[in-house]
Chain length 280, copies 2
C-alpha cells in the first residue's frame, strides 16, 4: 500500500466493494474502462485514481438511474441544466412511484381487511379499470327488481331488431337508486342499456345516448347472485378503504345471461364509477 500501482480486476473490485462481474459489466456498458488492457492476456488493469469514477457511478445508481442514463450523466461536457433536468425528472418519477406503492399498500391492507371480515378467501376481486364511453339504446323505468330488466331488455331488442341493428356488447344495467320495498315486491329505478355502433333516433321510450366512461372499480362473479348484497358491500368497503369516492350510479354488465342458460353459469360484472377522493 502507499505505492502507485495498477490493480487487477479482483483487487479493484475489492477496494471498490463491487463484484468482478459488475466491473466487467460496467466496461461493456462504457461506464468505466480499465486504464490498460494487456493485449497478450486480455487482463484488465485499473488504477486507484479510477475509484472516484466508480464511486460516482454507484452514487448515481443509488439515486435510481439506469446504467445508460449514468453513462450520459458521466459525460464531461454535460451542461449543468441537463443534469439538473435529469435529477428533477427522477425526483418526480420517484415521487410518483412512492404514491403508486402507497396505493398498492392500501389495496393490500383492504384485502387483508376483507379476509378478516369474511373469515375466508375473498370471493370478490376488485380491480380499477378504465372503461370507454359507449353508445347505447336504453330504457329507463322503475321496475320490479326481479325480472324487471328482462322486459326492458326484450323491449329494446325488439326495437333494435326492427331497425336491423345488432348489439355490440353485453347489456348494461345502471342502478339509479337503491331498491325500495313496495307491497308487491322490490322496486328499483334502473336503466337497461344495450351497446350499439350506429347512431339513430330514439323513441319516446327508448333513448339513444352515450354512457360515459372513466375509472371504474369492478368485480366479476359467476353464478346467480340476485341481490348482489355481498359484492355490493365488498365493493363499497374497498372504495372507502382505498380513498375513492363514488361519482355515479353502479352498473351491472350481464356478460353471460339468458333464458336458456343455467343460472349457475351466469357471469356478471359489477362496476362503480369512482374518482380519487380529494385529500382534505
Amino acid at each position: 500500500m502507499g505505492e502507485r500501482s495498477l490493480l487487477k480486476i479482483g483487487e479493484f473490485a475489492h477496494v471498490g466493494q463491487v463484484s468482478v462481474v459488475t466491473l466487467r459489466h460496467y466496461e461493456k456498458e462504457g461506464l468505466l474502462k480499465p486504464l490498460t488492457l494487456d493485449p497478450q492476456t486480455g487482463y484488465r488493469y485499473y488504477a486507484l485514481e479510477q475509484l472516484p469514477r466508480l464511486h460516482r457511478i454507484l452514487a448515481l445508481k443509488d439515486l435510481g438511474f439506469p446504467l445508460d442514463h449514468i453513462a450520459r450523466l458521466l459525460e464531461d461536457d454535460l451542461p449543468l441544466e441537463q443534469l439538473q433536468g435529469m435529477l428533477t425528472l427522477k425526483q418526480a418519477q420517484t415521487q410518483q412511484m412512492i404514491t403508486a406503492e402507497q396505493e398498492r399498500l392500501t389495496r393490500i391492507a383492504a384485502r387483508l381487511h376483507q379476509i378478516e371480515q369474511e373469515g375466508k378467501l375473498p370471493t370478490y376481486d376488485m380491480l380499477l379499470k378504465q372503461v370507454d364511453a359507449v353508445r347505447v339504446a336504453s330504457y329507463r323505468a322503475t321496475v320490479l327488481f326481479h325480472g324487471g330488466f328482462e322486459q326492458s331488455t326484450a323491449r329494446i331488442l325488439a326495437y333494435l331488431h326492427e331497425k336491423q341493428i345488432e348489439p355490440i356488447g353485453p347489456t348494461i344495467i345502471q342502478l339509479h337508486s337503491r331498491s325500495e320495498q313496495r307491497e308487491d315486491g322490490l322496486y328499483i329505478d334502473m336503466e337497461t342499456a344495450i351497446p350499439i355502433s350506429t347512431h339513430l333516433a330514439g323513441t319516446e321510450q327508448i333513448a339513444i345516448r352515450t354512457l360515459s366512461g372513466g375509472s371504474m372499480v369492478s368485480t366479476i362473479y359467476a353464478g346467480v347472485n340476485l341481490l348482489m348484497g355481498q359484492a355490493y358491500a365488498a365493493l363499497y368497503c374497498w372504495i372507502k378503504d382505498n380513498g375513492y369516492q363514488i361519482i355515479g350510479p353502479p352498473r351491472l354488465l350481464r356478460l353471460q345471461h339468458g333464458e336458456h342458460i343455467d343460472a349457475s353459469h351466469y357471469v356478471t360484472e359489477l362496476q362503480f364509477p369512482v374518482a380519487r377522493q380529494a385529500p382534505n
Copy 2:
C-alpha cells in the same frame, strides 16, 4: 351476447382487457388454461366463466405479486393462514420499498441542493456503505496537521517491520478533534492506524486494537486536498440533509499516497460513521 358460448382467444382477451400474448403467457405459466383446446387446429377456447379467475389474477398482480406466487395463491386448497401470511409479507415488503424510495428521494433532493450551492457539477459523490471492523496497529498523538501523520506512519511501519508483519490495507487516519491553530502551525489529535491480520501485543506508544465497523458515509477524491474543507463540508451537509447523525470521528483512508507519488495522483477516501437519526 347473452348466449352461452366459447370465446376465441382474441375475444376473451378483449372482454378481459388483456393482450392475446398475455393470455398465452398465463397458460404457459399454468395460471389460466382455456376451457377447451381444439386438437385439430390448436385453437384455444375460453368460457366467460373463466373471467372471474382472470380478474383475480389481475387483482393479485395489481397487489404486486409475481406470477409464480399468484399460481400458489390460486390453488384451491390454500390454507387461509398462508394466504394471510403472503399478504402480510407483501405488505411489509411494500412498506420497506416505500421507505427506501423515500430515502432515495431525499438523496436526490440533497444532490440538487448540492448542485445549487456549488453552482456546478458536484465534485464529491456520497455513498452510504457498510464497513467491516478491522484490527490495526495504531498510534495516537496531537501532531502537526501537515506531515504529522508521515512520522506516525513511519513509526508504526518500523514497529511492524520489526515484528515481520505486513499491512493488509491502506492506512487509516481517525481525526479525533477538529484542528486547532497554535503558534507554529495547525495541530490535530489524530490516530494513525495500519490494518494487520495477526494479533500481537502493543507497546506503550503503539496500540493493537480493533477499529469498529458499521455504516459510513463515504466520499473519494483524487488529488491533493490537504484541508479537505470542501469534502468535509459537502459530507456534512449530506448527512444533515439525509437525516443521519454522526456517531464517531471521521476517518481518512490513504488509498494511494507516498513519497514517490505525485500529489496529483493521491487518492483519498473520507468516511463519517453515521446512524439514522432518531425521528423525533
